[in-house]
């Protein structure tokens, strides 16, 4: 006999699909089948079942080998590291639940650490732009029900958010959009002819690194002012045509991704895209939304914000919260040589940071909390495997549009494994003892 669990939340990307069905063995120990998820989500659920999984903490030894240790020993190393460090960095938080993030914040506060999430390398610059000019946005259901103009700017949901288009943005038939895809016009802006661009009614193949100029040109076009013949590789006429398509809709949305956040211009690209959105609200209704990557990077920003006041790049070293990306942001902290200990959880900086920001991690006391083997675990002194969040434990997460969804536990973790939250609580309690003794 098997059991079918419905309304399961997929812990992969910021789309946070919550209609997954998972079939598990009768004893709830084995996950057998995954329905409705995309190919990446399916892999994520199934990988938790792999037989070669690491189930106990491991310390990296002098000779390069790894030695299995107990969770208690791992707690001790972590707490001692944080108690001694003068500027520890607690990084990641995007692939874990808000409950664990909250405990992490207590630890950060006690150890007067810097804490940051993966917005550092995905939508951190979007947050800077939002702080500069705001964000007219909406929930994904609004797009499904109302939107007739969809713009994907520097993002490729066909690859990065595979079910986004079918659930929310292109295909669904909503309340005012009964014809689904037929009622929508799709514009894609990307230097490549991506698989998303191939579906578009209009593709603006922007010259790489010139998004800021193209966005400015659109704003000029809305106002009917003079434009150069070609901007960012796009003829002025085509820009005016795109501007007219945007203005003529009833409800439009710009989705943007790392194509703009990580490209020259960075926060200013988003700033200008938000300005475009604001301008369009003089003619019709328009929204803009970042395509958040990790399934709970948004939640990490939310928890940081309500507890410390800032969504990422938080520096608590002076005993109170400060924030200024460029100074308090992870990549700068690492490459400038500002920190002396690193705890990574729910992310893989080893794979996703520029190598110059990874090298310092290998040289300092470091802990990597991750169910997987990763480049980060490979360069950290201590690797603490934990239960898969969203599969072997539940907990609250926030979708890319900030809608909170409580993840479901579908199977038991391997015998004796801790969750992120359980491990962090042990670290917190031990750190408290160390601080009180000091």
């Amino acid at each position: 006999m098997t059991k079918t669990i419905t309304d399961v939340i997929c812990p992969f990307c910021g789309t946070l699909c919550d209609d997954i069905e998972v079939i598990v063995s009768d004893d709830g120990k084995k996950l057998l089948e995954v329905n409705n998820a995309c190919v990446i989500g399916t892999e994520k659920f199934l990988h938790s079942q792999s037989s070669d999984r690491i189930t106990r903490p491991r310390m990296h030894q002098e000779d390069g080998s790894w030695k299995e240790i107990s969770y208690d020993e791992a707690v001790e190393y972590t707490a001692q590291m944080l108690a001694k460090a003068r500027k520890p960095l607690l990084f990641g938080w995007s692939s874990t639940n808000c409950e664990a993030q909250s405990v992490g914040n207590e630890i950060a506060e006690m150890s007067r650490a810097c804490c940051d999430n993966t917005a550092a390398t995905c939508h951190g610059t979007s947050l800077i732009a939002i702080q500069d000019v705001g964000l007219p946005s909406c929930t994904l259901g609004e797009i499904k029900n109302r939107a007739d103009r969809i713009i994907f700017w520097g993002c490729n949901p066909a690859h990065a958010h595979p079910r986004h288009m079918s659930r929310y943005s292109i295909f669904p038939r909503g309340f005012f959009t009964g014809k689904g895809q037929m009622s929508r016009k799709l514009i894609v802006v990307d230097p490549r002819v991506t698989d998303t661009a191939k579906m578009a009614d209009m593709h603006l193949q922007v010259e790489q690194g010139k998004d800021y100029e193209l966005l400015d040109a659109l704003r000029v076009a809305f106002k009917g002012e003079w434009l150069p013949d070609v901007v960012a590789g796009i003829p002025g006429e085509k820009i005016r045509e795109a501007a007219d398509v945007m203005k003529s809709g009833r409800f439009g949305i710009i989705f943007f991704g790392m194509g703009v956040t990580q490209t020259l211009g960075k926060n200013h690209n988003i700033d200008a895209a938000i300005a475009v959105t604001k301008d369009l609200n003089e003619y019709t209704k328009f929204s803009i939304m970042p395509m958040r990557g990790h399934y709970n990077v948004t939640g990490s920003g939310e928890v940081f914000a309500w507890q410390f006041g800032f969504p990422y790049a938080v520096d608590l070293t002076r005993g109170f919260a400060r924030y200024n990306p460029g100074d308090t942001s992870t990549i700068d902290l690492l490459t400038r040589g500002e920190i002396d200990a690193m705890l990574t959880i729910g992310s893989d900086p080893g794979a996703h940071f520029p190598i110059s920001a990874v090298k310092p991690i290998a040289k300092m006391p470091s802990v990597c909390i991750d169910p997987h083997l990763t480049p980060t675990s490979g360069v950290s002194k201590l690797h603490v495997p934990v239960a898969f969040n969203g599969v072997e434990t539940g907990g609250n997460c926030y979708r890319m549009d900030n809608v909170p969804i409580d993840c479901r536990k579908v199977v038991e973790p391997p015998e004796g494994m801790l969750t992120d939250e359980e491990f962090l609580i042990k670290v917190r309690d031990r750190l408290k003892q160390l601080k009180e003794a000091a």
Partner: protein, 135 residues
């Protein structure tokens, strides 16, 4: 003299890379998915490389060997694409312009054929670049 070309490198997600990271970064599949550089056919020609040839990609920030493949999301002459991961991150521009964000997209790199040089596995590559001792 081996032929080399200069090209503008960007990195980003692909669905294969997404599947591979969830399947295990220690596995060869990850290298197959992300240890590649997607090139426009015209640039492959300029480089004088067949598709699926190993190439060395070098920037002011590092150098890495990956497999050159023909892009499926083109044409994009003058632009090369390495899926996000340790291979791309060995060479991208870490300059944050004091925003916290490295310049993952838009690093000028040179390419040369390196048919006989091995492509390292993901974890192996990072450990090697960081000078981490492995057993």
């Amino acid at each position: 003299m081996t032929k080399s070309i200069t090209i503008n490198l960007i990195s980003g997600r692909t669905i294969q890379q997404g599947v591979a990271i969830e399947g295990g970064k220690e596995k060869a599949n990850y290298r197959t998915a992300a240890g590649i550089i997607e090139l426009d056919p015209t640039d492959l020609k300029k480089l004088g490389a067949w598709k699926n040839t190993n190439v060395r990609v070098t920037s002011p920030y590092g150098s890495v060997v990956v497999k050159a493949t023909e892009t499926t999301q083109g044409p994009h002459p003058g632009v090369a694409f390495i899926p996000m991961g340790p291979w791309a991150n060995s060479i991208i521009d870490p300059n944050t312009y004091s925003t916290g964000m490295p310049t993952f997209k838009g690093t000028p790199v040179t390419l040369e054929v390196a048919a006989n040089e091995p492509i390292l596995l993901g974890i192996e590559l990072v450990q090697k670049l960081c000078g981490v001792k492995t057993a």
